[in-house]
């Protein structure tokens, strides 16, 4: 079963307007930037990007194109805005959020990680203490006020927990260091971050990898993402980039 797709545009051929797309990566680290470029080239619109911790801040160039092309309908993230408030004032994405042209939904990072993990693991909802007693419990986490809904809570062993639901993306785009033809993935250092959970969550998961190897070449004890979660693998070249977010 060879899951390798020769070209980026072919790997994303069935992503359409309105798709819910998960993006791996943590700021600049481990972001599937070539797949994002393919999304930009394809020009599809009304996209919701399900992120973990600012991969679109890390992929500055791609982000500004996505915003300039009006491709984004919504972003879900724990850290979606420029770090510096003053830079944020000049940021086209943030301007669109402030103008309510793009929805930004904020979720605590660990809850977000678990929402993707839960989607992959067949768990539609789970309780966490994160956010209990805060605006997260009240659901005041989006600039689209019509979408604010208070969350269900439950007292378990005397402590209050918030019920959180899984997020199941139509497509998950991830970046790995190595992938074999059967879709098994291996990440380098902290570039693993959200890539594994995103890969498990996607209805269709597409991995861009820096190296393609034969099945068996990645240590059988050291597979980070089993190929069962990965439908397509596409090779990209390793790019150098600056490690910074504004």
């Amino acid at each position: 079963m060879d899951k390798v797709i020769p070209k980026l545009e072919e790997a994303i051929h069935d992503i359409e307007d309105g798709a819910l797309i998960a993006i791996g990566g943590f700021f600049t680290c481990g972001v599937p930037r070539d797949l994002l470029k393919a999304i930009i080239s394809k020009g599809i619109k009304d996209l919701t990007f399900a992120c973990g911790s600012g991969p679109l801040l890390g992929a500055k160039e791609e982000m500004s194109e996505l915003v300039a092309n009006n491709q984004i309908k919504k972003v879900i993230d724990s850290y979606g805005l420029a770090r510096s408030t003053s830079k944020g004032l000049d940021d086209p994405f943030e301007a669109q959020v402030r103008a309510n042209k793009i929805e930004l939904e904020v979720v605590p990072m660990g809850t977000l990680a678990e929402k993707y993990r839960a989607a992959g693991a067949g768990i539609p909802a789970f309780y966490v203490k994160t956010g209990a007693g805060t605006f997260v419990e009240d659901g005041l986490v989006t600039n689209f006020s019509e979408n604010t809904n208070g969350k269900e809570t439950k007292i378990i062993d005397g402590e209050k927990y918030v019920l959180e639901y899984s997020i199941k993306p139509d497509f998950a785009l991830v970046h790995a260091y190595m992938g074999d033809k059967e879709g098994n993935l291996y990440y380098r250092k902290t570039a693993r971050n959200f890539n594994h959970v995103m890969a498990t969550a996607g209805k269709v998961t597409i991995a861009e990898v820096e190296k393609i190897v034969e099945p068996g070449e990645i240590d059988s004890h050291c597979i980070h993402t089993p190929g069962i979660y990965v439908q397509r693998v596409v090779q990209v070249s390793r790019r150098e980039f600056e490690i910074t977010i504004d």
């Binding site: 943590f26 930004l104 660990g110 990680a113 007693g133 805060t134 600039n143 902290t190 971050n193 490690i243």
Partner: protein, 224 residues
């Protein structure tokens, strides 16, 4: 309001570092908490980065920079012997599951109930819609939550309050507060003043603190 001279930020970090025990797994937030890492070199403390790393090494410069190796604040870092990597859901399982012994964070405000506001910035004009990151998970999940911060705002307004006026990052989780002026414990009965900057009086500290402080019977000067 009167503004007192106190410890510089590096020294707040030094005092807070003394609260960490050998063998502790510790997560350090951005700002003063990050400076703690300068004071624990050679000590047996495991630094956890929520991006998915334990035994996070010092910041990387020049040719040591690896774009696949950053901390949760997007700074390039280094490996040390025994550094390990894992995925983000494992990382937050550690945090939420109570395996991280101590988290040290900055705060805009802390209440006498141990509530704190760690990140909100009303000047952005987006209400609650901002950068939460992992702060809510860390405050809810860590065994101990330590806050390091200036005792007052730049204008001299108290940051230790009866009730938060900013949106809470966590409720009732703060255990200990290190400021430039004092060391304060959060107890069920209120804020206990335990250590004080040399030369200041308890009245001085009270004058820049909104809730009524309980003076520890063992009150002493901050020792380093």
């Amino acid at each position: 309001m009167k503004k007192f001279e106190g410890l510089p930020q590096e020294i707040i970090a030094l005092r807070a570092s003394q609260e960490l025990k050998d063998g502790d797994y510790v997560n350090l937030g951005i700002g003063i908490p990050t400076m703690i890492s300068n004071w624990i070199e050679g000590r047996d403390i495991f630094l956890h980065s929520e991006i998915g790393m334990i035994k996070t090494g010092p910041l990387a410069y020049d040719e040591d920079i690896d774009q696949d190796l950053i901390n949760a604040s997007c700074q390039p870092v280094t490996e040390v012997a025994g550094s390990i990597y894992f995925d983000i859901s494992e990382s937050f399982a550690m945090i939420r599951g109570g395996h991280v012994d101590v988290t040290v964070m900055g705060a805009f405000q802390v209440s006498e109930k141990g509530d704190f506001a760690g990140w909100n910035n009303p000047s952005r004009g987006l209400g609650n819609v901002g950068n939460i990151g992992g702060s809510m998970d860390l405050s809810a999940g860590s065994r101990r939550l330590i806050i390091t911060m200036e005792h007052t705002t730049k204008n001299g307004d108290p940051k230790l309050l009866k009730e938060l006026t900013y949106p809470a990052t966590g409720r009732g989780n703060v255990n200990l507060i290190f400021t430039d002026l004092a060391v304060i414990e959060v107890a069920p009965e209120g804020l206990i003043l335990k250590e004080i900057y040399p030369g200041l009086t308890t009245e001085d500290i009270q004058s820049v603190t909104e809730p009524k402080l309980i003076i520890s019977p063992d009150l002493k000067e901050i020792e380093l």
